[in-house]
Amino acid sequence: MATVAYRKKTQIFKENPIWYKLKQNKLTWVGIVILSLIVLLSLFAPLLTPYSPTKINIAEKFQSPSFHHWFGTDEVGRDIFTRILYGARFSLGFGILVIAVASFIGVAIGTVSGYLGGIFDQIIMRIADMVLAFPNLILAMALAAILGPNLQNAMLAVAIVKIPVYIRLARSEALVIKEKLFVKSAETFGISKPRIILRHFIPNAFSPVMIQATLDVGDAILLISTLGFLGLGAQPPAPEWGAMISVGWQYLLTYWWYPTFPGLMLFLSAGALNLIGDGIRDVLDPKSAR
C-alpha cells in the first residue's frame, strides 16, 4: 500500500514540468550548489573553526593566509575565515528575514489594493511609485542615516525600500486573478472578499512572488553590506561582511586578504541567489499550467 502510494508520488514529482525544466538548466544548478555550500558553512560555523569571531589576539594581527588561518587575520588578530563563516549567518539570515517581512507586507497591501481597486488602490500606487522612484541604495542610505547607524535600522531601511516592489507585483497579479472565472464563481457563492483573497489570490500569486523574493535576497544582502561598508549598518566588531570591508579596504594593497575574502563571499552569495532566481523564473514564467 505504502509503496504504491510512494511510487505514485514520485512519479507525479518526476512528471512535474517544473522539475523537468529545472533539471535542464545548468547555471541554476551552479547557483544552487554555491548557495547550499554557503548555507552549510554558516550553519556549521562553530564546528568548522576553532577560533572565535570576536576574540582579539593582537599578537597574530595581519597574518597572511596560511595553514592556521586560511583567510589570514585582521588588524586585531581575529581569524578572517571564522569571521566570514559567522558573517554568512548575518548576511544570509538577515537578508532572508528582511525580504520575508517586506514581501509579506507588500503582498498583503498589493493584493488588497488590486482586488478592491478604487481610490484606495490609486493612493497606494502613488505612494509605491514615489518610493520606487528613488534608487534603492540612496533611499536606504537616507533612511539608515535618519534612523541611526546600526544593523537593525539598516534592515528596516532595506525592508522599506523593498516593500513597494511587492506591492506592485502582488497588485498586478491580483488584477489578473480578479478576472479569472474561479474568482467570479467564488463571488457568486457569496463568500466574503477577505476569504476569497486568502483562498484564491495568495496561492496563485505565490510563484511570481517567490521568484522576486529569491532575486531580492541577493539584492538585500548587497544592500545591507553596502550600508555596513558605509558605516550606516552593522558596526564593527560585528563580523558582517560589509563592515569588514569598511575597515579592510584601506589595506587592499598591503594586506590584500582582508577586504578580498569578504568581498568574494558577497559576490558569490548574491550571484548564486541571482542564478537561482533566474532559473526559477525561466521555468515558471511562461508557465505551463497557470
Binding site: 479569472k180 472565472l181 474561479f182 467570479k184 464563481s185 467564488a186 463571488e187 457568486t188 457563492f189 457569496g190 463568500i191 476569504r195 483562498r199 484564491h200 496561492p203 496563485n204 505565490f206 499550467a289 497557470r290
Partner: protein, 264 residues
Amino acid sequence: MIEIKQIEKIYVNGKQSTKAVGPVNLSIREGEILGLVGESGSGKSTLGKMLIGLEPPTSGTITYKGNPLWIKKKFKRYRPGEIQSVFQDPQSSLDPRMRIKDIILEPLLGLPRAERKEKGNSERLKQLIHRVGLQEEHLSRLPHEFSGGQRQRIAIARALVTEPAFLVLDEPTSAFDVSIQAQILNLLKELQTEKQLTYLFISHNMSVIRYMCERVAVMYKGDIVEIGTTHDIFENPQHPYSKKLLSSVLSVTDQENGSHAEAL
C-alpha cells in the same frame, strides 16, 4: 419563478455609453429549461451574469420567487445556494491550486453554518462525485490532472453541492467535442429531471438548444427579438434575425434544401 422586468445594462466608459442589454422582459417558469440563444454581442451572457450576482443591472428588476435579487446594486441572497451556475471554460473556472474536494465544497462557504455541515458531509460528497461520473479517489487531485470533460463534471458537481433550485448554464458544452458534449448534455438532462431543477441554458449552438430546451428566447444586440416554444421557433421563425440564424446552421444530413436533420 424568475421575473425579469425592464432589465437594462449599460456600460459607461468616460463619455461613451454602450448598451449591452435591454430593456428585456422575461419570465422563467419553475421546472423548465429555457434556452437563451444569440451570437457574440447579443447580451445573453450579461443577462445570465445579472441573475447570479456578477453584474448589477443599470435599471429594472429581477425577482426570484417574489423577492428582488438586486437592491441598490447589491445582490441579495435570500436563500443562499439556491441559484448556481456552470460556465463555459472549465479550465479557468476551477482554481488550479485547489484540490477537487475543496473545489466542490467551496459553495458551501456561502451558507450558514448549520446547512454547511448538513450538506457537506462525506457521504453526500461521495454520492455527488459518483453521480457526475467520477471516482472518490479523484477528490484529492488537482484540476490539471483531468481532461476538459472531467473538469466540467467537477464544475457541475460544485454547482449541485448546495442543492440549488435554479441553474444558469452559460455555454456549458461549447468548449468540447461532440462526443464529450453528448455526455455532458445527457448528464445535465438527467440531473434536471431527477432533482426537478430549472435551467437557463445559454448557448450559440442551435442544435444543442433545440435538443435541451422547451422554450427558447432569441437575443440580438441586447434585445429579445423572439420567444416561444422550441418547436415554434425552429419550425416557424418569425423575426428576420431568427430566420437568418436558423438558415446559417449547417446540418449534416440535409444540405440542399436546408430543412432540419432527420434521425439517421
